[in-house]
């Protein structure tokens, strides 16, 4: 039962992460493989501030979001002028650098030893102790993220994002400041990812650099694609499906050294199969406005 609640929390955490990436990949067409880096920034901010400085959880969230926002602004400013395929290379390089920082800046992150005993969030004198309370808390955060992402998607701002995705030059030609839109949504996406990272750190209670590699970024990308890029509910479904199915493997008697590669082969294969047979994912994007027929 506890285990079931834990899986629910994990799905909620990955739901937040997937929604965050969906904002840039699905809405705007900025393909990025650096989401795990921003997730890591949030996770490390939470872990360091909670364990060493006794911050309260919500202020660590704010610090993590500020850090992720600042870093993503720098990255976006320097590299978002690149065309799609080349931008991926920049985000890929960036992902590797952030991983290197987590691994090698031992004074700050304890490097490969990781940070242990990350406490549960507490706010207003109420601690979200115990798996059930924490699961409710993550589901609450997920609901807020869903609401924000939907509002962003349906707003005029979100429509400009989709216009940029479909035809960047056309969006620019009707007077939209394409760079500003891209940079801002990229920052929002990074900040949400840092929230997901902080939730992750408090759920697992232990983090190390090996969680925040490019493989994690690709995994989140797979969740976006399989769930349906451009549809935030799809992101939650994608996370639910891809996290719960492999958990079933635990009930069979497979050693971990074999089970975890098999799990990953499964999602790699699903990613390819979906792109071939159902490229728009489990829940395809729905366009609400009549002006946006494709």
């Amino acid at each position: 039962m506890i285990y079931f609640v834990y899986v629910i929390s994990l799905i909620a955490v990955y739901g937040v992460l997937t929604i965050s990436l969906n904002l840039s990949v699905g809405y705007t067409g900025i393909l990025s493989v650096a989401q795990a880096a921003f997730m890591g920034i949030g996770a490390y901010s939470a872990a360091i501030l909670l364990t060493q400085y006794g911050f309260n959880f919500f202020s660590t969230l704010l610090v993590g979001m500020a850090a992720a926002g600042l870093v993503s602004w720098g990255l976006a400013w320097a590299t978002l002028r690149l065309k799609g395929d080349y931008y991926v290379i920049a985000s890929f390089g960036f992902q590797i650098i952030i991983y290197n920082i987590f691994l090698n800046w031992i004074g700050l992150t304890r490097g490969p030893f990781g940070i242990r005993q990350i406490p549960a969030p507490r706010a207003f004198g109420f601690a979200f102790l115990g798996p059930v309370k924490y699961a409710l808390f993550t589901l609450g955060v997920l609901a807020v993220c869903l609401w924000v992402a939907r509002r962003v998607g349906e707003s005029p701002y979100g429509k400009v994002l989709r216009a940029i995705r479909e035809d960047e030059a056309a969006a620019a030609s009707i007077g939209k400041n394409v760079s500003r839109y891209k940079i801002s949504i990229f920052m929002v996406s990074a900040m949400l990812a840092s929230v997901g990272g902080a939730l992750y750190a408090c759920l697992i209670t232990y983090i190390d650099p090996f969680t925040f590699t490019i493989h994690e970024s690709i995994f989140i990308l797979a969740l976006v694609i399989i769930g349906g890029s451009g549809n935030v509910y799809g992101s939650v479904i994608g996370a639910a499906v891809l996290i719960s199915i492999p958990e079933v493997l635990r009930f069979f008697d497979v050693p971990t050294t074999v089970a975890s590669p098999i799990r990953e082969v499964l999602y790699g294969a699903l990613m390819i199969i979906f792109l071939r047979l159902r490229p728009r994912g489990l829940l395809p994007e729905r366009i609400t406005s009549g002006a946006m027929h494709r």
Binding site: L82, I96, N100, L275
Partner: protein, 297 residues
């Protein structure tokens, strides 16, 4: 003294850089004609390292034979990737984003196959002792292995240059790169050209992998760094320019090694990335290429 140290680092940089040049060219040979961002190149790189390990260390084959067979197998993996993953997508009319995403999927599958077959422990491919003995020249030292590395990569680079300029297939590759539609219209078998470019690029990456693995050892994760170097070399050199990619690879090798003078070696990747960002900011067309920033047709 500082001068000799600098010179030694510079020479080390050139040796590593010649392999990076191969990496850059191997990625360009695939990307330029097909426009596929072949991320699985990372896994092909690691696989060829493990092939070499399997043949040379476990089965005791002689090294040159092992390298040649690893090249052949790597080339076949490249062709297989095109055949199984990219070509069906292309027939569906999928764009470059779908290709790249599928490539990530393929990468994940191959990486985990490596874990299942060879486990994640670090491995080494031993080379004969006499190849590692330093020969002092003034205050500098070389090993025979360094010289073999330079000669091999130089020969491979020269071979590619001649192949692209003077053979029918090489010319076809450049034609497809320039204008795939036009090339099809005048009767170039674009499908087959793509297979050739995948085979060529993947076999080349096996050469680089072999030398890097013999020097630094083997782990399942090393492919990521190789692809970072390869893609940065391609961009900095100017996409589509083989000599540019080679030159940029050389430059990254030198920058990394001379950088060690002042910067701890775990930040090598950071140096590579900074080279990329500087080029994006100040010379987005790379050494010899076309613009790659937005609003280009």
């Amino acid at each position: 003294m500082a001068f000799w140290l600098f010179l030694q680092l510079l020479i080390n940089g050139i040796i590593v850089g010649s392999l990076y040049a191969l990496l850059g060219i191997s990625f360009t040979a695939i990307f330029a004609p097909t426009r596929i961002f072949h991320f699985m190149h990372a896994s092909v790189y690691v696989f060829s390292g493990y092939f070499l390990y399997q043949f040379a260390m476990r089965w005791g084959w002689p090294l040159p034979v092992s390298i040649l067979v690893a090249m052949l197998l790597a080339g076949m993996m490249g062709v297989l990737a095109e055949r199984v993953i990219y070509s069906p997508l292309r027939r569906m009319g999928a764009g470059s984003m779908e290709m790249l995403l599928s490539s990530f999927g393929g990468y994940v599958i191959l990486q985990n196959m490596i874990l299942l077959i060879w486990k994640s422990d670090p491995r080494t491919v031993k080379i004969p002792e006499f190849l590692k003995n330093g020969i002092p020249v003034g205050l500098l030292t070389f090993t025979p292995m360094d010289i073999i590395t330079i000669i091999t990569s130089g020969a491979a680079l020269l071979g590619i240059a001649l192949f692209m300029r003077h053979t029918k297939v090489g010319k076809a590759m450049r034609a497809v790169e320039n204008d795939p539609m036009g090339a099809t219209i005048i009767g170039i078998p674009t499908e087959r050209v793509r297979f050739v470019s995948f085979f060529l690029g993947s076999a080349l990456v096996a050469v680089a992998a072999a030398f890097i693995v013999m020097d630094k050892g083997l782990e399942p994760t090393i492919g990521i760094n190789a692809v970072l170097v390869a893609t940065v070399a391609m961009i900095v050199g100017g996409v589509g320019s083989y000599s540019g990619a080679a030159l940029a690879g050389l430059m990254i090798g030198i920058a990394e090694n001379v950088g060690i003078w002042q910067i701890p070696s775990e930040w090598k990747n950071t140096i590579t990335f900074c080279v990329l960002v500087l080029f994006i900011l100040f010379r987005p067309r790379g050494f010899f290429g076309h613009r790659m920033t937005r609003y280009e047709g």
